[in-house]
C-alpha cells in the first residue's frame, strides 16, 4: 500500500488531557492517512481510549489540536465528528437493548421521507448492510437485547459501516469476537481501506495488530513512544516499548511443586435452559480451559456452576460431597469464585472506591470477616500491582486492566477453593495479562482448582492442563494440554475436524 506518500486525513498534535489533575495524555502527536490501518497500542490506562474519544468529539482535549483533512476542527459533540466523517466503534457497546437492530444502526440519523422516519428504508438498508457481510442470522427488526454479545458486536460494526466515513476508529472491536468473526472484520477493514478510508485500530491482541496494520503507534503512560511502519517492528520490540522492558515468555510456567490432587468439583450431567449434559471434573492444582465459539455456552456453563442460572438437572459434588448450588451466595459459601466476563456490568460498582469494591463479596457473604479482610486489601492490591491513586479512588476512573485487578482482588479476599475465570484477560494489556496468568498458577500451586473460559486460543493452549471444548450448549471434546489450535477449533465448530 502506498499510504506513506499521501497526506494525512486526520492529524492530532500536542494533545493533552487531565482527569482530576492527573495528566493521562501528555502531548500526543499522531496522524492517519487515507487507506491506512493505523494500530494504536499501549498498556491498560495508557490513554488509547481517551485519545479516541477526543478524536470522536466525546471529550474535549485540554490542549492541542485536531486537524481533519487539513483543517483544524473542534468537535464539541460526537455528532459533529460523525457528520464530518469520523466514526468510532467504542470500547463499550453503544447499543440500546430495548431498540431494534435497525433503530440502533440508524440512531441519530434515521432516514426520513416527507419529514417522517422511513422505517421501510431503515430496515431495508440495515438488511442490505447485514447481507453484504453474509450475516443473515440477525433480523434487522430484532431487539438488540435479544442478541448474543457476538451478534451485538457485529451490529456495532455494521452501525459504523452505515456511515460514509473517512476515518473509522475501532477501540478493541474484537474483544467479543471469535476467530471466524475476526476474519470477517479483517475483510471489512481491507475493503474500507481499499476505498481510501483510514482506520485507527486499537487492540490488545498483538497478532491482529501485526496482521492488519500499516503503521503502529505506541503509547505509554499517556506519552507517545513511537510511530513505525509495521515492517520495522517485531513483536518483542513492540512489547518492550509498551511495557518498558522485555518479556521472556507470555505464559508463566507452572509453579514448582504444583501437584494435581483429588477432584474438587465434579459435575455429572448438569444442565439448565442454556447448557445440557455437562459432565466435568476439576481437580485440585489443575487449570482447565474451556474453549468454544462465541455463544457456545461457556459463560452459561460457569454461571450454572456458580448458581446464577442454577442447574436444574444433574448432580454436583464439591470435594467429594454432594452440593446443591442454587444461588451465587451458596456458591461463594461453598468456596467458589467467579471472575465474570463483563466487569463493568457484573463485576464492579463503578461509583464506589477500590476498597469498597474489593470488599464487596466478603461484606455480602461473610460480613463477619470484613474487618480482617480490610486489613488484607492493601497487600492483595499491591500483589496485583494495581496502579491507582490509592484505595479511595473511584473504580470508574481506573483503566480496564486495573478494574479487572480489582475484581480479582475482590475474589481473592474470600479465599476461594475453586476459581472460575470467564475471559479473564479480555481487554487488558500484556503486562496485566501476565499477572493474571501468574495468579492462576499461584492458585493452582496452592491446591485450588481453576476453570478458565477464554476466546483466545493461545491463552487456552498456553495455560490449560486440560482443554474442554463446548459447542452449542454441550461439552463436545476433552483434549490434553498442548493440543493444537486446529484440533480445538475442529471440535468447537462441531465439524469434528480442522477448518
Amino acid at each position: 500500500m502506498n499510504a506513506t506518500t499521501t497526506q494525512p486525513v486526520l492529524a492530532v498534535s500536542g494533545i493533552r488531557k487531565s482527569f482530576f489533575g492527573v495528566e493521562v495524555l501528555k502531548g500526543i502527536d499522531f496522524d492517519v492517512r487515507p487507506g491506512e490501518v493505523h494500530g494504536l497500542v499501549g498498556e491498560n490506562g495508557a490513554g488509547k481510549s481517551t485519545l479516541m474519544k477526543i478524536i470522536a468529539g466525546v471529550q474535549p482535549a485540554d490542549e492541542g489540536t485536531v486537524a481533519y483533512r487539513g483543517e483544524e476542527v473542534r468537535h464539541a459533540h460526537p455528532r459533529q465528528a460523525m457528520d464530518a466523517g469520523i466514526v468510532t466503534v467504542f470500547q463499550e457497546f453503544t447499543l440500546l437493548p430495548e431498540r431494534t437492530v435497525a433503530q440502533n444502526v440508524y440512531l441519530g440519523r434515521e432516514p426520513r421521507r416527507a419529514g417522517f422516519v422511513d422505517r421501510k428504508a431503515m430496515i431495508g438498508r440495515t438488511a442490505d448492510l447485514l447481507s453484504d457481510l453474509g450475516v443473515s442470522f440477525i433480523d434487522p427488526q430484532a431487539r438488540v437485547g435479544s442478541l448474543t454479545v457476538a451478534e451485538q458486536q457485529i451490529v456495532e460494526i455494521v452501525k459504523a459501516l452505515s456511515f460514509d466515513a473517512q476515518v473509522i476508529s475501532m477501540d478493541e472491536p474484537t474483544a467479543a469476537l471469535s476467530d471466524r468473526e475476526v476474519e470477517l472484520l479483517y475483510a471489512i477493514i481491507r475493503r474500507l481501506t481499499s476505498r481510501g478510508v483510514a482506520v485507527i485500530y486499537v487492540s490488545h491482541r498483538l497478532k491482529e495488530i501485526f496482521d492488519l496494520c500499516d503503521r503502529i503507534t505506541i503509547l505509554k503512560d499517556g506519552a507517545l513512544v513511537s510511530t513505525d511502519e509495521t515492517a520495522d517492528l517485531t513483536t518483542d520490540e513492540l512489547v518492550r516499548r509498551m511495557v518498558g522492558r522485555s518479556i521472556q515468555s507470555y505464559f508463566p510456567d507452572a509453579v514448582e511443586g504444583t501437584t494435581v490432587g483429588e477432584p474438587r468439583l465434579e459435575l455429572e450431567n448438569c444442565g439448565n435452559a442454556y447448557v445440557d449434559g455437562v459432565s466435568l471434573t476439576l481437580r485440585a492444582g489443575e487449570i482447565v480451559g474451556i474453549a468454544g465459539l462465541q455463544g457456545s455456552g461457556r459463560t452459561e456453563l460457569v454461571e450454572g456452576v456458580f448458581g446464577i442460572q442454577a442447574f436444574t438437572r444433574g448432580a454436583m459434588r464439591i470435594d467429594g460431597s454432594p452440593t446443591n448450588i442454587t444461588s451465587a451466595r451458596s456458591a461463594v459459601r461453598a468456596g467458589l469464585a467467579l471472575v465474570s466476563e463483563d466487569r463493568k456490568a457484573q463485576g464492579l460498582a463503578l461509583g464506589q472506591s477500590v476498597l469498597d469494591n474489593a470488599l464487596l463479596v466478603v461484606r455480602s457473604v461473610f460480613p463477619g470477616r470484613t474487618a480482617a479482610s480490610r486489613r488484607e486489601v492493601p497487600g492483595v492490591l499491591s500483589s496485583l500491582e494495581i496502579s491507582s491513586r490509592g484505595v479511595d479512588q473511584e473504580a470508574r476512573f481506573l483503566s480496564g486492566g486495573n478494574q479487572q485487578k480489582v475484581v480479582l482482588a475482590k475474589w481473592l479476599l474470600t479465599q476461594p477453593q475453586i476459581v472460575l475465570f470467564d475471559e479473564p484477560t479480555r481487554g487488558i494489556d500484556v503486562g496485566a495479562k501476565y499477572a493474571v496468568y501468574q495468579l492462576m498458577r499461584e492458585l493452582a500451586a496452592q491446591g485450588k482448582a481453576v476453570l478458565m473460559v477464554s476466546s483466545e486460543l493461545p491463552e487456552i493452549i498456553g495455560m490449560s492442563d486440560r482443554i474442554v471444548v463446548m459447542h452449542d450448549g454441550e461439552l463436545v471434546a476433552e483434549l490434553p494440554a498442548g493440543s493444537a489450535e486446529h484440533e480445538i477449533l475442529g471440535a468447537a465448530t462441531g465439524a469434528g475436524g480442522a477448518r
Binding site: 489533575g21 503512560d221 461509583g351 463479596v361 496485583l384
Partner: protein, 350 residues
Amino acid sequence: MNALRALVSPRGAVFLLLVVLLVAVTVLNPSFAEPGQLMRFIQRVAPIAIVAIGQYFVIIAGEFDLSQGSLITAQVIIAGNLVGQDDSRTVPVLLLMIVVGVAVGLVNGLITTLLKVPSFIVTLGMMLALLGGVMWWTGGAATGNPADSFREIGRGGIRDVPFLDFIPWAVFILIAWLALGIWITKLPLGKSLIAVGDNAVAVDYAGARRAWVTTRAFVISSLSASLSAVLLVGYAGVHPSVGRGYEFVAITAVVLGGVVLGGGRGWIVGAAAGAFALEALFMLLNIAGVPSTLRDAVQGVIIIAAVAYSAVAFRARRRRPREPVATPEPATTPEPAMTSTIHTEKIRGD
C-alpha cells in the same frame, strides 16, 4: 480556609445553604441565637430529619419510599386510638408501632425486590392503601391525643438546664438515630446498599442476598417514619394531616443533602443536614413575613437553585484539577514484575 473550601464543594453545598439560612434567620430575629431557641429548632426538625435519614437508605439503594407520610399518619392515629388516656399502654403500643413499621417496610421491600415492581409504584400503592385503611378504620378521626406520658417523648425534655435551658428528648433521639444511621452506613449492610444503588448486578454476582439487603432499607425507612410519628404525636398531637407530604419533604431533604436519586452516591449526614436546611428555610419564610401565598414559590426556587448548584458544581469539579494533596498516579512498575510471582509490598500512593 479549608472549611470554606469544603463548604463550597458540592458535598458541602447543603451545609453552606444551612449556614446562610441560619444567619439570615438570626439577622432578622436575633433571639434565635439563644441556645434555648436552637434546641427548640432542633426539636422541630427532628421528625423531618429522622424520616430523611430513613429515606436516605432507600434512595442510596436506588429506590423511593413514598409511603413514609402515610405511615406517619397511620402510626399517629394508632397511637392516639390505642393508647388513649391509659399510661400503662404506652409500651405495648410502642411495640405494636414497631411491628407495624417493620411490616410495612417488609411489604414494600419484598414486593419491590421479589415481584420486581418499581418501588415508586409499590410505595405509591402503600401510600394510598395505608392512609385509606387507617381512615376507614377510625372513621377519619382519631379518638384524641394519647396520654401525656406518651406525648412526653416528642414534647418534653430536660428542663432548667444551665445555659441551654431546655433540652428536648427529640434532640437526643435525633442524635441517637443519626449515630445509628451513620453506624449502619459503615456496616456491610450500608456498604451493600450503596453498592446495590450503584450496580445491582454486580451485587448479585457477589453472592449477596440483594432482595434482603434492599428490603432492610425499606424496613429502616418505615421504622424511621414510625419513630418520627412517635415524636410528632408529642410535638403536634393526633390529627389525620400529621405526616402529610413528609415523603416529599424527606426526598427533597435527601437530595438537597447531595444524595443522588437513582442511588449509589451520598452521605447520610448530608441528608440530615438537608432536613435542617429545609426547616430553616420554612422558618426564614415565617420570620421574614413572606406573604403566605408566596411561600411555596420561594421554597421551589431555592430547592431548584440548591440542587442545580451542586449538580453544576460537581460537574465543574470533575473537570478541574483536584486539590494539590492528590498524589500523582504512580508510574507503572518499571521492574521487576514479569518474572517474579505475587509480591506483597505495601501499596503505593495510599
